[in-house]
């Protein structure tokens, strides 16, 4: 292992707000079958947050990976404070003071927070030194109010905490330019707001320079000073944040007006599809996650589950899908007790599941086509006696890719090469097209651009016409309130409140989410 270098150029010295820090000129990057970045110009100035916006697959992650040295541009140059640099690897990037927090976390679950933070550095190892590491982490987390226990193990942490560890990891390495790829997609609204504040503070006080990717337009408005919009690998516009608004940004991104309008079918709920009675289950840490949950979902009904992440919602989804065992209680599906059934039997009975993290739902080495049948390869027309009908699989893929606007060079492309949002679309296409009788969706629109998110929400609503019952788990209260028919609020493994969506008041939901009984 090579020793990691500390910063050579500390540009915070003698740097005034507004000074140019990082400049990308004419960056072009091609992948087989796609032009991911097409002569992109992008710059970051001291003291500002520069947001990068664009549809799924527009090339945002690719551009940031180039800054971080994960990819080499085919053409173009990078300048740091006016000096041309070549960033060949993340080690180079870190040496130049550039840190990145990825769309998918890159932490080692079995190690502690402190161990993860110094991973790859020549520090720690000896007990005495580890103490110093912990001290430094504590100082940093205090300074930036990033609370986290250095001795906790990663697998015990929530998504928000993992995020803090990733940021601390970069701060520990003295990163001055922090690249954040969709940092808020998996955060709760409160956590996201906290992060926004942190970014703003870092940008103005420390002059750490933060390019920032997100799909949440209000967040862009609240956090950034400037916005660059990408479409299909090209910069379509660079604009000052105070001269734009969410609607305008959405139009620039997609190239046409986004309606922000959902088509709600007027249809009354039918017979109960799912009845849960007094369900109790443990989480991965062996702590009670569901403490006696009872609920019913009917045909053509969408039940929204609101709540801060980590209050049992994910465990509920897993229990219904058959991925997690129960301690007690019953799960009744169409009048039949399915509590003891295997996942496969439940899929066959018509239970679809969109998992919280897309990496759970796809096989990275498989082609897009093979991934599209993961929940149905064992059924007709794909299954023959022993074999898989590859022609049928391909025909299915040819139908799904355009319908769900999955951006991929071809149906044979391995899923790992798709952008995050397009992987999510792949999973949604697969599950929705299976015509489920019950669909469990956990953060269905996370990581999707505004256009795609709206399309998916409309697809979920359209499932009501097929008498499908839907369990919608989301932390986005706006999404829950606009899509659901009824809303249940989770707090510490219990339902603290349940209302018809039409009567829901945001403040009340918020109070329930905080555990206050009204």
């Amino acid at each position: 292992m090579r020793e990691e270098k500390t910063i050579d150029i500390d540009f915070r010295q003698g740097c005034k707000p507004g000074d140019m820090v990082l400049e990308l000129r004419n960056i072009t990057k091609r992948f087989p079958g796609v032009l991911a970045n097409d002569h992109i110009n992008f710059d970051v100035k001291a003291g500002e947050v520069h947001a990068l916006l664009g549809e799924n697959g527009a090339g945002k992650t690719t551009l940031m990976n180039i800054i971080y040295g994960l990819y080499q541009p085919d053409e173009g140059e990078i300048y740091l404070r006016g000096k041309k640099v070549v960033i060949r690897s993340p080690l180079d990037a870190i040496a130049l003071g550039i840190g990145m927090v990825h769309q998918r976390f890159k932490l080692v679950p079995s190690l502690t927070v402190a161990e993860n933070i110094i991973l790859g550095l020549r520090e720690g190892g000896i007990i005495g030194r580890m103490k110093r590491v912990v001290e430094r982490i504590e100082k940093l987390s205090e300074k930036y109010s990033l609370q986290v226990d250095p001795s906790a193990r990663i697998w015990q942490l929530s998504a928000g905490e993992k995020q803090r560890v990733e940021i601390l990891k970069m701060l520990y390495r003295n990163a001055q330019i922090l690249v954040l790829d969709e940092p808020t997609s998996i955060l709760t609204p409160a956590e996201a707001e906290q992060l926004s504040l942190l970014l703003r503070r870092m940008a103005t006080q420390e002059m750490a320079v933060v390019p920032f990717i997100t799909h949440k337009l209000p967040e862009v408005i609240a956090t950034s000073n400037r916005v660059t919009v990408l479409r299909r690998g090209r910069v379509v516009e660079e604009i000052r944040t105070d001269q734009t608004n969410p609607r305008d940004l959405a139009r620039k991104m997609v190239g046409k007006s986004v309606l922000f309008q959902l088509k709600k079918p007027e249809i009354a709920p039918g017979d109960p599809v799912l009845e849960i009675k007094n369900l109790r289950a443990l989480n991965d840490k062996g702590i009670m996650a569901l403490k006696g949950i009872s609920l019913t979902i009917r045909e053509s009904e969408i039940l929204g589950i609101a709540g801060v992440a980590g209050n049992g919602q994910s465990e509920l989804a897993e229990v219904i899908a058959g991925l997690r065992g129960v301690l007690s209680g019953e799960i009744i599906f169409s009048g039949e007790d399915i509590t003891g059934l295997s996942t496969r039997r439940r899929i066959e009975k018509g239970i679809g599941h969109i998992p919280e993290e897309y990496m759970i739902g796809v096989v990275p080495d498989f082609s897009v086509a093979d991934n599209l049948v993961l929940d149905k390869y064992f059924e007709k027309p794909f299954s023959r006696r022993w074999g898989l009908d590859h022609k049928a699989v391909e025909r299915f893929a040819e139908e799904m890719i355009p319908r769900y606007n999955i951006r991929t060079p071809s149906k044979e492309t391995p899923a790992i090469h798709l952008s995050g949002g397009n992987l999510q679309k792949l999973i949604l296409a697969r599950e929705i097209s299976h015509h489920p009788r019950l669909l469990i969706t956990n953060l269905p629109t996370h990581g999707l651009d505004v256009g795609a998110a709206e399309f998916i929400q409309n697809q979920l609503l359209a499932l009501k016409l097929e008498k499908c019952a839907i369990l919608l788990i989301s932390e986005d209260l706006d999404e829950i309130m606009s899509v659901s028919d009824r809303i249940a609020v989770f707090y510490e493994g219990r339902i603290t409140g349940m209302v018809p969506a039409a009567e829901a008041v945001k403040d009340n939901l918020g109070a329930w989410m905080a555990g206050v009984k009204l």
Binding site: V86, I347, H353, I360, G361
Partner: protein, 358 residues
């Protein structure tokens, strides 16, 4: 000046083949230096190897004999690998297959060949398969690392052969070397006329072809690849990893067991210590090498195991012609393994030279 590795974004089948070919070529170059140091002329040595292995019926016959266990042990490594498992137990599973087929031959000496041989085949497959399957079970049930368990069972099975040939099944007549008595001729696998290559080679080739299609075209193959690539996704889609781990370890072990059958029924006609792990060709371990040489493709494995059989045969001859030490073929094998695995790394990363300022 410094070197560093950079991730490649363009890994294709063609690159894979090129990487293997270049690796082998480099191994040959490296081995030339060993030959030079031992006082042999590399060019003529390589010519001798090729001639000895492929240049005559006798040479081809020896190559074919070696190819059989390589092919079957290569498959024994490859099948579990596709499910994400490392079966390092080819040696033990081969021994177990040998023991089982010998046991059948001793127990039913009066059966006619068309009955006895298939019975031996089945017993060998089950014997090796169970040995692999146990490791699979330990893995699926208690996540016991299969690298460790399969390796441990190697010793168990080798010692079992030692014991059987030294005590219960020992051949009488005061032979100094412990070995079992000869199995009845009805238990002998027929050989291709004019050679010593037994028909187990057909079993191996057919198995390789079936496995190729099995992994690619069937539902079970799809499930195996899913478990190998993302176990979480497998669970999510209701695939039982337990079933897949047991199945691939059983089939892998069974195939190595067939190699053991081949050695007993087609070649040695008895059990003897060391017969099944000859120092020049540690079949069980070499399964890993031929599988890597084949880029984990079971059809290419037919070719790579044939070539590897040739290398061993040629190497043995070279030892005699050039009067080299007996470790030389082992060294050559080791070189090939190092270069091929190194090539796999370079397939994923490219080496860049760092000059000047970053």
């Amino acid at each position: 000046m410094k070197f560093f590795l950079q991730k490649r974004t363009d890994i294709s089948a063609a690159n894979n083949i090129r990487s293997v070919l270049i690796s082998v070529a480099l191994a040959l170059v490296a081995f030339s230096f060993v030959l030079l140091a031992s006082g042999a002329d590399p060019i003529s040595a390589y010519k001798d190897i090729v001639m000895a292995a492929f240049g005559s019926v006798r040479g081809l016959s020896n190559t074919g004999i070696k190819m059989i266990p390589f092919l079957l042990c290569g498959l024994a490594f490859l099948v579990p690998r596709k499910a994400g498992l490392w079966n390092i137990g080819g040696v033990g599973q081969l021994h177990m297959g040998a023991v089982m087929s010998a046991w059948v031959a001793y127990s039913f000496p009066d059966l006619p060949a068309p009955l006895l041989i298939p019975l031996m085949i089945i017993a060998a497959f089950i014997g090796g398969g169970l040995l692999g399957g146990i490791c699979g079970f330990l893995k699926a049930k208690w996540s016991a690392n299969e690298v460790v368990t399969t390796m441990m069972f190697n010793y168990v099975a080798i010692l079992l052969v030692n014991h059987l040939s030294a005590y219960p099944w020992r051949r009488g007549g005061g032979i100094a070397y412990p070995m079992t008595s000869e199995i009845v001729p009805a238990a002998w696998m027929p050989v291709i006329a004019g050679t010593r290559i037994h028909y187990t080679v057909v079993i191996g080739i057919v198995a390789a072809i079936i496995i190729f299609y099995w992994l690619r075209k069937t539902k079970t193959g799809y499930e195996i690849r899913t478990v190998g690539s993302n176990p979480q996704a497998a669970k999510y889609s209701g695939i039982s990893s337990m079933k897949i781990i047991l199945l691939t370890m059983f089939i892998g072990g069974g195939l190595a067991g067939l190699a053991g059958f081949g050695e007993v029924s087609g070649l040695q006609h008895s059990l003897r210590v060391n017969d099944f792990t000859p120092p020049d060709a540690r079949y069980g371990f070499s399964g890993l090498i031929v599988a890597y040489l084949a880029g984990m493709n079971s059809l290419v494995l037919i070719i790579s195991s044939f070539l590897f059989g040739g290398i061993i045969t040629g190497g043995n001859t070279l030892q005699i012609i050039a009067d080299l030490s007996s470790g030389i073929t082992g060294l050559f094998q080791g070189l090939i393994l190092i270069f091929v695995i190194g090539g796999q790394v370079l397939l994923r990363y490219k080496i860049k030279l760092k000059t000047g300022e970053p």
